[in-house]
Each structure stands twice: as structure tokens, then as C-alpha cells.
Assembly symmetry: C2
Homo-oligomer: 366 residues x 2
């Protein structure tokens, strides 16, 4: 069954679009009163993630309210380490934390192969529930954290105030052990994303939120090559999967890779084979297009702080962002998004202003 | 009187050097037991900054221990907002905080013109005390935070866990007020650096620690142009100052600009007119050299986490860093440094290993 709105997938495949599609990282979140109401009903954040019906409800809220062009599974980038037994939790007003952390080689050896269809069954259930509820209005994006970013949290036991210095220490003291952990995570992330595709995800995204903290000399070895392995596994597995789902184009499920702080390494990120590359607000979209725009679609890159400003500034920033990408010609693709997740302090009306500005302005660039 | 060791200044002026000079950001710090002893004597961090004799003592400690090629004034990047009445303090294990913060236009209007020779007399006294104690062994670097970075702290009231989202909000809601604050800081930082030069600083460095959080579209307007104005003021004022100090070369005091996270904007940073540009560990030194190396010297860029690793890794990383810059030919300059401040967890012996590795390996690249 065709999508009512397939702008997102067309842009991701660098096919012609009549306007620029838009969705926002963390679009189902605390800035929405309806989200807060559902979350209250669920209890805490992880209970909301683990309840397929309620996860479906919050996934659809921003689609219903703003008419965004893609839905993204409501979940967390850290479900895998949680399922591996590290015990993810969130304290009021704080970032993610783990009960246990990886401290030594033995902790890595002790990590068994994850069976997502058992330990992360709730995610597959959420995807199929959302997919059904969406009834082909817009495509659904599945996602996971990247191996490096998961390893950062698993070793550090939570977020970091010092660019994960303690994890970077491993690069210079036990790189082999770190690679063992990353290789286990490649398998887990791949299996997990493939499970999401099996359950109905139309595209998947890999978040390398902390890739930008890697030294340039080590980014490829400790992050890029592992993401590349995941893209290859997802592509290979998704071709027969999609055939069974009735698609006749022989194409794999498209992948988007986002490395926050990775603006200097776009060529390397594009070389993962991903169909889309996320761009944060420190990189000029037009320059990114010149470097990798003929190989992949670009997604981004408005500063989330712009949504805390006035409507006049939001309209100006949307126009500037669209113009920085430039005229949308054949063979390039732009998906409008923020350069990072939306802030909890965003007035919902400002998101409506952004969506309207993209709809009004982007056709002029065609 | 000539320096016993002027490698640092020669590299900064892109003149021939027989080996690569090295100093480390935050080289006088908590990783040194002798520093901790002096700090205990002073009481807290700010009391140490404000005591010229003890500030001199800690400034010289890493020179004495490691034979580094430049000394840097022991102080903090936030002395200016402190002198403007915001009340800087440090709590155990936490970053800098202010008693008062800039919340509205009226708070900016209320900031008077700073007279560094009165309110920051202790810094001039520290510089002249250190300069005397050094007795021309190596050059002395003075420094300040950049206007944007100072504004981040002044508006936020301290550090930030969200890339200074609340400050970036000003870009989109009251950019004019923010510019007023930045312009006041241009005058204060310039006057402050000129005072340090008058007291004996041989070079000055501007730390734009949070410049990398600016969106690319706004970096020039909210940070670069203000740093450029400072470089121009410092250059203009230092020519007659140096003449009075007995220098006959007619040259200004050299300036180093370091924008953490600014690797994508090196051309713009070099266009400030600074003699040296700091490079963090996310940028390849050789690529940086290709982009701006004929206009300015480059300083950096070892990951500080490498100093937490094994000696074998430290030697390999030093060699890799020197090789990434490439053969040191005429008209280019490289000053070895870290890509950010040294960690408090660094074993001092690892710094000795680094200094020795630079001394042993760098002559081979000539």
C-alpha cells in the first residue's frame, strides 16, 4: 500500500519532491503537553518506552498536531545496553544512567549475544502498533545509538561533563578491549535495526551522538567502520525482508547516519553507504552538499535554540537553512530537521511556525 | 635581553626551529603535586589567582619540572566578568559559577567600562612577578576568554550541560542586546590583554572555548568579528609598547586564537589576523596547515586523554601528531600542545614522556 505522503522517502532517495519534507529529532517529547499527559499515565520514561500502546500514542502526537512528514519510533538510543543487563534509568532532570557499567575486559566478555526479538520484544511490538496506527499516512523511522555512542554510556555509566575523557582513555590504554565491545555492539545494533524493519520500520537511523568527541585520527577505526558494518548488514538483510513485505523494487531499507560534531568527516560518514547523513548546526548545508550531496541525502540542520526565539527569527532561520542547501535539483535530497534534538522548552506554536515556513518557502527553491 | 629559549616565539612567527616547541594548556594544574601543595597554601583557586607570588610559583612549576618551551600566566579565563562584579567562585569538583548573572538588557547597560589596571591589578602584578622570576628562560603567554565565551558564562551563570542553549536563545530573540554585551567585552578584553603585555607578556592567547557551539551561520557575527577587533587593538597598541620596552623590530605582540570545535571555520579564525591558531583534536593538523598554514602558525592538537594512556601509546600519538603536521619547512610553524586543557588525572611522568618524545622525534621532520 502506497504512502499518503512519501516526501521523506523520496528526498532520502534523492528523487524529486515538490517541497522539502520535515521532521524533528525528539519530536515526541516534553515540549508537548499531550506527551506529558501520556507520560504521566505511563509512570516514568522507560515505562513509556516499554508500553507499545502508549509509545504509539506519543509517536503519533506530533504527526497529528503538526502534519510532519515522518514519524519516528518513540524509544531511547540506549535500549540495547539496558537489554544487555546494565539497567538503564532516568532521574528527574538528569540524563540517562546505568546501574552497572563496563569497567574491565571481563565485563565485555560476559556480555552475551543479544536476542532483540526476546529482550527487546517491546520495541518490535511498538513498531508494529505504530505502523498499524499510522495506516500509511507517513513513513516510520526506527533507530538505535551507534556502537561508539553506546560504548561511551556503557563505560561511563551515564552522560559526561568532560567529553567522555574516561572512555577516550581506553583508546590509549586498552584499544583491543574497546574494539571487542564495539564488535559485539555491531551485531546487537544490526540485529535490533533489522528487527525494527521486520516489524514495519520504513527507514532506520543510527545516532552517533558522541562520535564528534573522538580524535580525528581514531574516528574511522572506533566509530565509522562499525557504523559501516551495520549499514551493510541492514542493507543485506532488508532486501529479502522487503521482498517478503511485497516491495518489488529490490531496494534495501534506507539508513540515515548522524554523527554530532562530525562535520569535518562527512566524506567518511557518507562512505558508510548510508542513504542519508544528518548534519548538525556547525556545518554549512551547501558546503556539505558540495562534499557528499551527490552520494547521499542531507538531513538538518537548524539550531534547536532557534525554536526558542521569535516567530520572525524562526521564519528567517528556516529560509536561511533552505537557502544554504540551495536549489533542490535532480539527484540531491534535503530533509529539513534540527541540528540536534528539540528542546523541552520549545513552545509548540513555534514548531507549527517552522513547519509552515518550510512548506511555504521550500517550493520556491524548486 | 634575548631569551635562553625562543623556540615558541620563532614557531609562532613561522621562522625556522631546530625542533618543535611544546607547552600544554592548563600546564600548571591539579595533576601536579607541587601545584596542589601551593594551592592548599593559598586556600582556594581564586585566592591563588589573586596572589602574585603564589601564582608565579605555580606558573614556574611545570617549566622547572618538564623544561617546557613557554610559560602561561596562572589565572582563569573568567577574571573579567569577576572584575565586572559578577562574583566568580568555584565549588569543589565543579566548574566556574557566578553569584550574579546577566538576565536582561538592563544588566548589560549597567556594566561600566572596566579599568583592568585597577580592578585586575593582581593580574598585572602576577605577570611582572612571573616575568622577573623567569629571567628570560622562556617566553610568557598572557590570556583571556573571548567575548562570546565570557558572554556564555555571564548569561548562563556558569557552565552548561546543553551547549549553552539558553545563551543561543538570545541569538534568535535579542541579538542586539547580545551584541551590546559582546562589544563591551571587546573593549574589556583588549584593555586587559594590553595591560598584560605592558606588564611583560610576550604573547597573548584568546580562548573561545565555546565558539564551537555557535551555529555556522552566526559564528562570524557573534564571535569571530569580536576576536578580530581584539587582535587589531592588541596589535596596534603593542607596537609602541614593545618599542618602549626596547624592541627594535617594529612588530606587534603575537596573538593566538583557539576556538574549540571551530575546525570547520579555520579560514575565518585565521582572518582575525592572529599569528597562531589553536587546533583541537577533531581536526587533522596537515589539513589545517593546507588551509591556513601559510598565514599563521598552528598550535595543537593531541587528545588530552592520550596522556592517561600507556607510554607506548603516548610516544606513538606524539609521532602521529607531528607527522600529521608534516615536514616543518620554511614559512610554516607548529607549536606542539594538547587539543584542550590537560586532565587533572594525568600522571606527571606521562607529561615527561610526551616532552621527551617531541624533543626526540620532531628534529627528524626537519
Amino acid at each position: 500500500m502506497a504512502f499518503q505522503n512519501d516526501l521523506f522517502l523520496r528526498a532520502l532517495h534523492r528523487q524529486p519532491t515538490e517541497r522539502t519534507p520535515v521532521w524533528l529529532m525528539r519530536q515526541a517529547g516534553r515540549y508537548l503537553p499531550e506527551y506529558n499527559a501520556t507520560r504521566k499515565q505511563a509512570g516514568d520514561f522507560m515505562s513509556l518506552c516499554k508500553n507499545p500502546e502508549l509509545a504509539c500514542e506519543v509517536t503519533l502526537q506530533p504527526i497529528d498536531r503538526f502534519g510532519l512528514d515522518a514519524a519516528i519510533l518513540f524509544s531511547d538510543i540506549l535500549t540495547i545496553p539496558d537489554a544487555m543487563g546494565l539497567g538503564l534509568f532516568f532521574e528527574q532532570g538528569e540524563g540517562p544512567k546505568f546501574n552497572k557499567r563496563i569497567e574491565a575486559e571481563a565485563d565485555i566478555a560476559a556480555l552475551g549475544r543479544l536476542d532483540p526479538s526476546a529482550e527487546l520484544r517491546y520495541v518490535a511490538d511498538a513498531v508494529s502498533t505504530i505502523k498499524k496506527a499510522l495506516s500509511q499516512r507517513v513513513p516510520l523511522i526506527g533507530f538505535s545509538g551507534s556502537p561508539w555512542t553506546l560504548a561511551c554510556y556503557m563505560i561511563n555509566g551515564g552522560g559526561s561533563g568532560d567529553d567522555f575523557l574516561g572512555v577516550r582513555k581506553w583508546l590509549y590504554s586498552r584499544p583491543d578491549a574497546l574494539q571487542q565491545l564495539l564488535e559485539k555492539l555491531v551485531v546487537a545494533v544490526s540485529d535490533y535495526l533489522i528487527m525494527q524493519i521486520e516489524a514495519g520500520a520504513d527507514a532506520v537511523m543510527v545516532f552517533d551522538s558522541w562520535g564528534g568527541f573522538l580524535p580525528e585520527a581514531h574516528f574511522e577505526r572506533f566509530s565509522q567502520k562499525h557504523i559501516k558494518a551495520i549499514v551493510e548488514r541492514v542493507h543485506a538483510a532488508s532486501i529479502p525482508l522487503r521482498r517478503r513485505q511485497g516491495f518489488t523494487d529490490g531496494q534495501p531499507t534506507p539508513v540515515i547516519v548522524f554523527v554530532k560534531g562530525g562535520g569535518q568527516w562527512l566524506e567518511s560518514i557518507a562512505a558508510t553507504g548510508a542513504e542519508g547523513v544528518g548534519i548538525d548546526w556547525s556545518t554549512h548545508l551547501g558546503q556539505a552538499r558540495g562534499r557528499v550531496g551527490s552520494r547521499c541525502a542531507l538531513q538538518g540542520n537548524l539550531d534547536p535554540a532557534a525554536l526558542l526565539g521569535t516567530e520572525q527569527h524562526i521564519r528567517a532561520e528556516v529560509a536561511r537553512t533552505l537557502e544554504s542547501f540551495g536549489p533542490v535539483s535532480s539527484g540531491v535530497g534535503h530533509i529539513f530537521n534540527l541540528g540536534h534534538g528539540i528542546s523541552q522548552f520549545t513552545p509548540p506554536d513555534n514548531v507549527a511556525c517552522l513547519v509552515e515556513a518550510v512548506a511555504n518557502y521550500s517550493p520556491k527553491l524548486r
